[in-house]
């Protein structure tokens, strides 16, 4: 079977409540994910992540829709679907976080799925990933700056 999902996990030396806040609060999302985040982190809440390209000062906004919010155990959203559309399995990726207490620490798991179901014409699909990648490169540059500034 060809995999359709990415799964990653990490052990964090902090209570699940603290981890949940980092994942869901817009002010914190903008420190590990996007340059800016607007989001109502409740089930059905929608928002956007904005990625800024410093070289061109262009900004790219990405739609996001909360699928599940159960503090401090679970948070899930669909993202990157076209403006004016509802998120579906065919036009967006699903990100699911699960938080599990392990002693005083928290096991954070993330799954991103839907890569093979994205129903877009070939050319558009190639462009989709390019855009996606570009946003993430920009994001990483900022993230690295943030992290080194912290330590």
């Amino acid at each position: 079977m060809i995999p359709n999902a990415i799964e990653k996990e990490i052990l964090i030396d902090a209570p699940a409540e603290a981890v949940y806040r980092v994942i869901t609060e817009p002010a914190q999302i903008s420190q590990w994910f996007s340059d800016a985040a607007e989001l109502d982190p409740v089930p059905g809440g929608t928002g956007s992540l904005t990625f800024a390209d410093r070289a061109t000062s262009q900004r790219m906004a990405v739609n996001l829709s909360v699928q599940a919010a159960e503090p401090p155990h679970r948070f899930a959203f669909r993202w990157d679907y076209p403006d004016g559309e509802q998120p579906t399995e065919e036009n967006s990726l699903l990100v699911e976080f699960s938080l599990t207490a392990e002693g005083g620490s928290t096991r954070l798991r993330v799954t991103e799925s839907g890569f093979t179901a994205l129903r877009k014409p070939d050319a558009e699909k190639a462009g989709y990933y390019e855009t996606h990648d570009k946003g993430w490169d920009i994001h990483l540059a900022n993230l690295n700056g943030y992290v080194s500034g912290q330590s």
Partner: protein, 136 residues
């Protein structure tokens, strides 16, 4: 060697990648496709002889591959021969490669995001264990 009419080829290129994915996601089905590609053409009988599947299973795999446009059938008397459609096989291979690449990139990025989440949460837990970060 492609026997499909241009019209049919044009039509069959439009179905979404869903059918392609369904067709190539199954390892047994990929074996059937591999054999057809290796031999240029094959009949259900020759395939069943070479593969550890029943004729019935082979027929099922052939139907899915044909529906995805990856192979096509020609009747020769009482026999049905299957040939691969290179443009569709290539489209499937490209779709798989593109998706695999996108997933590898996404996986690397989630690693870094999780690292950043860890740093943020741990620094907040250290500095103010019982208070929200903006509690000052």
């Amino acid at each position: 060697m492609s026997q499909g009419s241009p019209e049919a080829a044009g039509r069959d290129l439009t179905p979404g990648e869903d059918e392609l994915w369904e067709a190539v996601a199954d390892p047994s089905r990929r074996k059937v496709l591999d054999l057809i590609l290796a031999h240029g053409q094959a009949t259900p009988t020759t395939l069943a002889a070479e593969l550890p599947f029943t004729r019935q299973a082979v027929a099922k795999h052939l139907a899915v591959l044909a529906r995805a446009g990856l192979i096509e059938a020609q009747r020769h008397g009482r026999e049905v021969r299957y040939t691969a459609r290179p443009e569709r096989v290539s489209a499937a291979a490209q779709a798989m490669a593109r998706t695999a690449q996108a997933m590898a990139t996404a996986a690397a990025r989630w690693d870094r995001r999780l690292d950043a989440i860890k740093r943020l949460a741990e620094s907040q837990a250290r500095t103010s264990p019982a208070e929200p970060p903006e509690g000052f």
